[in-house]
């Protein structure tokens, strides 16, 4: 009875409930603390950005992924202007601890998962072209890998195209009602700071 809507594409976010993922999640949460220097990750974050649920390192990986998923095109808002990575991080705060660990595991796999392809360079150390290629491989990779990719992609693109600045570009005139009524639990950092 629900809309067939495919309206929950983001739900791939919980994908790491798949077997073995819980262990990966636990390992991932700590491994991100172990691998790579604080300075490397901090340098990837925009100045002044503070994570909500994720660690600084995890948020930095998320920023890097979002930058690849959303291209820079003239006239379109940049992913960083739309605050997509921060929004995903905030959205997590409205979900369970299990979902937090699942998503952290997604980021761990993205950052360190190259080892499964005998590529030992972390995602955040790759060039933009290499990052694109790594994501493309994940998209068509084995179950867990492609599920991680699907989760990241769906969340990123959903929130990006919820940004009103995108609407004229896709031929969408926006809502008919003039009232804006964000939910009480609102993950949009732009709106919260407006």
């Amino acid at each position: 009875m629900g809309p067939p809507s495919q309206r929950s594409p983001l739900s791939r976010r919980r994908i790491l409930q798949v077997s073995g993922a819980a262990g990966l999640a636990l390992a991932g949460g700590s491994a991100l603390l172990l691998f790579g220097s604080d300075e490397h990750y901090r340098a990837l974050l925009p100045k002044g950005v503070r994570p909500t649920v994720l660690s600084e390192k995890e948020l930095a990986v998320l920023f890097a992924a979002v930058d690849r998923l959303v291209p820079d095109s003239e006239g379109w808002p940049k992913a960083r202007e739309a605050r997509i990575a921060e929004r995903i991080d905030r959205e997590l705060s409205f979900h369970t601890a299990k979902m937090h660990s699942d998503f952290k595991a997604v980021l761990f796999l993205l950052e360190h998962g190259g080892v499964f392809r005998l590529s030992f360079t972390r995602f955040t150390k790759l060039s933009a072209e290499e990052q694109h290629a790594r994501l493309a491989k994940m998209a068509e990779g084995a179950g867990l890998e492609r599920q991680c990719f699907a989760a990241l992609k769906a969340m990123t693109l959903f929130f990006y195209y919820c940004d009103e600045r995108c609407w004229p570009k896709v031929g969408y005139q926006g809502p008919f009602v003039s009232v804006r009524a964000p939910p009480e639990a609102d993950s949009n950092p732009l709106r919260q700071e407006a």
Binding site: S73, H132, V170, V177
Partner: protein, 524 residues
């Protein structure tokens, strides 16, 4: 909604203490199943308290702002983010007063006669034959203003679907709609800002409230209280809508009857968490979901699929799978045009980066079809260490064949309708530009596609035999007196069409039984 009725709904911000309530009936869930039972019991003079996990949102409060992100967070279960354990299914269910009816497409179908017969034949379901349900169908259709979609309600995608299907030799039919004074805004899935969609929020719930029922919104049922083999009430907690976490306030309801209508995904987990005896071993099993397979298409004209109603037309002739000596031939789904708003479309289209951007620049020229697949696979639910449900579902071989066949039929309709290119949302973004290329669908890796799961059923299967079913033909649990299931969990299988009317009809049957046998049921 009338202010006096609104006062009968307690929300988290007014729940300033713990509550001890004693009522005749505690109804968990305010969707199609719960609303009907609550209305019927309240009108018969019973004291009724409904518990709803989600919030209370109204048109006249300006809550329906038509923004995809706001409304997904507000009215969808898991803020739209719940999936099956392997990520293949996106679970679509409601989390608000009115339940899934607030976000559904308003397609309204009677239970197909063959499905009633199957349930009677294979599961011993009595009292739910098509003929016995007809009076309730008629009641629902009157109350929800059910009518065939008018010409004016067909957007360009619906028109091209109709054209393409007819060119392909498929018979199309108008889909019955539960609407009144629809303006065709296209925001059905975000919750109707005009009260035109005849959801429970604007139909049965106001009647229930006017008859004396109350609702605790933002109130999550944690456990059914069971004592001496009968349900005696419900333990619940309020959720702070600002944080989505427990507020610290609780409700303890003592009742003569407990009606669980928490929806096809959540009723069984609640009963499992409540340690309901399950001698049949079927509780939490037999999950069917009507997975939604879809294909997109690029046209060289404006489609703007996000306006007007979603599915005013469809091909129904393939509803039942055609088999030949046990071998799948074709069918097993309904075909409709699809409707997605831009951000959801973006999340579902294949590719990323510049390729994806190129597609989105033509979003207004993208249309598509969906197939509601009558799945044969059966999933199940388990509880994690914190008692949260985990849903498991794996595609069966016949489902795979059905989905591929549906994608071919969708591509056929879209190409005949003028599509320049059909886009399958697999990881490769398979493209089909000509009918000659339909065979490429056989090579699509279905494991890289995501399927919405909008119509869960089966995890509290109804039947006469307590060794094979969870609830009896009255909806009462075989193993717990005074505990009724009134939602699609009780269906023995999926309905093969939108289940809302079936849910309401089944709830009428349960309500009539409850009222007819009230003294013996209430006193145990």
């Amino acid at each position: 909604m009338d202010d006096a009725l609104k006062e009968r709904v307690l929300e988290y911000d007014r729940a300033s203490r713990d509550y001890e309530e004693t009522v005749d009936a505690c109804v968990i869930g305010t969707g199609c199943g719960g609303a009907v039972v609550a209305k019927e019991l309240a009108r018969a003079g019973k004291s009724v308290l409904m518990l709803e996990r989600g919030g209370f949102y109204l048109m006249d409060h300006g809550d329906f702002d038509q923004r995809e992100d706001d409304m997904m967070a507000r009215i969808d279960g898991g803020r739209g983010l719940h999936s099956s354990s392997d990520g293949q299914l996106a679970l679509t269910y409601g989390n608000c007063v009115g339940g899934a009816s607030v976000h559904y497409w308003a397609d309204t179908w009677r239970t197909p006669k063959d499905r009633c017969e199957k349930w009677e034949r294979e599961f011993g379901v009595e009292g739910h034959s098509y003929e016995e349900l007809v009076p309730f169908f008629e009641q629902v259709e009157r109350d929800l203003n059910v009518h065939a979609a008018e010409d004016i309600r067909l957007n360009r995608m619906n028109q091209l679907f109709d054209l393409g299907a007819k060119k392909a030799g498929y018979h199309t039919e108008r889909v019955l709609q539960a609407r009144k004074n629809c303006i065709g805004s296209g925001y059905c899935a975000q919750g109707c800002a005009y009260d035109a969609k005849q959801s429970q929020l604007v139909t049965h719930l106001p009647v229930a409230l006017a008859a004396g029922a109350r609702i605790f919104a933002d109130c999550e049922a944690e456990q059914i209280l069971i004592e001496g083999g009968r349900a005696i009430g419900v333990a619940a907690r309020f959720i702070d809508r600002r944080t989505c976490k427990p507020s610290g306030r609780r409700a303890r309801v003592r009742s003569k009857v407990v009606v669980v209508a928490a929806g096809g995904f959540n009723t069984a987990p609640l009963l499992m968490r409540s340690r309901m005896p399950d001698p049949s071993g079927q509780l939490g099993k037999n999950l069917m979901v009507n997975p939604v397979a879809q294909a997109f298409a690029l046209f060289d004209e404006d489609i703007v699929m996000w306006r007007n109603i979603p599915a005013g037309t469809g091909v129904m002739d393939f509803r039942l799978a055609r088999m030949d000596g046990g071998r799948y031939v074709e069918g097993g789904y309904l075909l409709h045009p699809t409707q997605l708003a831009p951000a959801t479309l973006a999340a579902l289209l294949p590719s990323f980066g510049k390729d994806h951007r190129a597609l989105m620049e033509r979003a207004h020229q993208i249309g598509g079809c969906i197939a509601w697949v009558d799945d044969v696979a059966t999933g199940r639910a388990t509880l994690d260490e914190e008692g949260h449900p985990v849903w498991h579902w794996e595609m069966a071989e016949q489902d795979e064949l059905t989905i591929r066949d549906s994608l071919k039929k969708q591509a056929t309709i879209l190409l005949h309708g003028g599509a320049k290119e059909v886009i399958v949302p697999d990881a490769k973004g398979t493209r089909i530009r000509d009918l000659e290329e339909l065979a490429s669908i056989d090579r699509v890796d279905l494991g890289t596609m995501m399927f919405a799961a909008p119509h869960p059923s089966g995890m509290c299967r109804m039947g006469k035999d307590p060794s094979r079913s969870v609830v009896s033909c009255t909806g009462e649990a075989h193993s717990v007196k005074g505990l009724f299931v009134c939602d699609p969990s009780a269906f023995p299988t999926a309905v093969s069409v939108d289940p809302s009317e079936t849910i309401m009809a089944f709830s009428y049957v349960a309500a009539r039984h409850l009222l007819g046998e009230w003294e013996s049921i209430a006193k145990g």
